[in-house]
Amino acid sequence: MGKVIQIAPITRIEGHARIAIHLDDRGDVRETFLHITSLRGFEKFVEGRPAEEIPRIVTRICGICPWMHHLAASKAVDAAFGVTPPPAGILLREICQLLAHISDKILHFFFLAAPDFILGPDADYSVRNVMGIVKAAPELAARIVAMRQMGQRMLEGFAGKAIHPVAGVVGGFSRPMLEEQRRALLRDAETLLDFSCYALDFAKDSVFAQYRDVFQEPGTITTGFLGTVDRTDGSLRLYDGIQRLMKADGSFTDFEGGRYTEYIGEHVEPWSFGKMPYAKSWQEGFSLDIAAPAGIYRSNTLARINVCETISTPRAQAALEEFRGMFGRPAQQTMLYHYTRLIELIYVCERVVELLQREEATDTRIRTRAEPQAGRGVGIVEAPRGTLIHDYTTDGNGCITRANLIVGTTHNIAPMNMSVRQAAASLIKGGVYDQGILNRIEMAIRAYDP
């Protein structure tokens, strides 16, 4: 019986998980497991609640991306009650979603992932963190703290709460945007856009170029991809659009979100509370075998950048073209999640500037009256970590009778298992490993999932 190495807990991610690496008698990797250890039961305990309250409850699935759950649930309840928000209601929701993406991407790349690059993957744990960045690069640290805070302050000032928001409501939005607020938000959004361009340049010069080896190998696997694109031109979309499921060879199928159950199934392993979505429609079953995976696709930034034809904003489109010139389509290297995250950061900043310039941003017709009714609604948005699906059925009193949730992160649980396996097998040989090597294995997770 070989040894078991425990990476517990996985750190600098959002969520509760650990990695177990089982070695054989020679000290080579026999098996690895990514154990997701958290189970709370949201699908169950929303039953019986009035549907219009759900967007205020499911936010607590994730404190990093509460806006995504808030908005996916709002869209699902709109559909169950058969209401369409006025254009300004939809616009205000999307503005908030974009602002939340901005803070999230800064947090993910700079606070959680960057210590591995700025301090180095082998640095001691006591300094390989954001506190270490403050000491090693104080000006950069002050800037990332300020920029992330700016995004959060914009949300709070306009929508009341940034964490666990309440302003998205069935039928639209709870309060209109004032002209004065619009102008202030636009000014700040332009500052964030400048920062986003700096962030990609910084990463290209100081991270991606220096860590070419780290970007080539650990965690790289070959899979399909899932994302949301514009239904007319196939460009990147985050608030709404059509779902696109791409195979590893680049061929793809588009489908309406409401029909997701025909395309996606969920596999369950006895050793993880995290369900593992897979592409049921490929009719090849489910397998985590790295050499011959079955049904495995990925979500999140790399997936969205792979599935989209173009990006509708100029600077992000230029970055996309440069990226595709270097890595092709679909790109498979796991560490490229970071690169594509920063391309998306430029897109969300450009897009929020664009939306804040629209006249209807300050329209006061923001909510359509809803009446509780029996129905079913599927609401989908692109969360930072992937395609987020909320599906609710209501009774005649507008209370929930059935719920199904596929959270962004869960699409990547199967691929993360494979990436961990791949990274561990390539880095641990003959029982030789140290904390730096174990950290490199965790870096495969951090590419997907802080």
């Binding site: 040894k3 425990q6 600098r12 205020r56 666990h164 174990l438």
Partner: protein, 315 residues
Amino acid sequence: MAVRAAFEWLNSCSGCEIAILNIGEALIPLITEHLEIVHAPILMDHKYLGQCGDGRKLEIPEAEVGIVSGGVSNTEHLEILLAMREKCRMLIALGTCASHGGIPALMNGQDRKEGWEGVFATSTTDPGCAVPDVEVPAPLDRVYACDEKVAIDLVLPGCPPNPARIAEVLTAVAQGRDTLLPGKSVCDTCPVRREGKGAVSVVRRFLTNADFDAEEPVGKMRCLLEQGFMCMGPVTAAGCAGLDLPPSCIRAGVPCRGCFGPVRRDGNQMLDMMNALASNGIDFKSVVDRRSLLRFSGAHGLLRQIRKNPAGKKG
């Protein structure tokens, strides 16, 4: 001299941790000068079983102050909470999950076995899936607040807690001074216009927006309860927006749902709200799904599973 601090999260969502990051400019001196962080899974790589993952027993470093978010729902949460209590001289329960169970304690109103089985038998799960039970922590019989399992020295509720408040408390702890927690209700700190009892006899669901002029300050808006909306301000602890701003949800034009837990730490938000409605002449039976008035405070045995009622009543 920096104070050694350990952070942990249990049955939580990370919203409390994001609230800490939302402290803003003051964050940098807090985490690098006032505090010496020795353990914090979201920010740093200290591991339970040693940095090479070959230890036998969960180890958390000794610290002057420990900060725990999330309630206690499985054996792993309990093991971590006990280790934190053992290693931290002062233990702070951060957020409403830690103080009162929070949203995840809504599970206390369910049949847990049936509930977990339902989570693994949805419209997308493969047929025949069982609840995972290998190398994953076993669920406890219900969701507990932290003080039901260990002694807690300071409670800082909120979903999430207010960032400035967190900064003030942690700075006070680092400087060794006392800090006063407000004992007021959301209504006590809410500037909206109140005209008195009598006009409303039932409460409405939030299906249309409140009546207010967005160009005017919040203080010009009429109280949402007086507009006929269910609002839990009377029975909820204040502090969500800090002490100088109107409550956060009210600023967004939506009613309070009680995310800071009861005003008195041992209060019962459901019973207190029923009383508040009755004393204002409002028929409490008009509240759809009354038990969800305990949606933030279902620990301490307050929210329990109800027997299946054939009439299908939700109350």
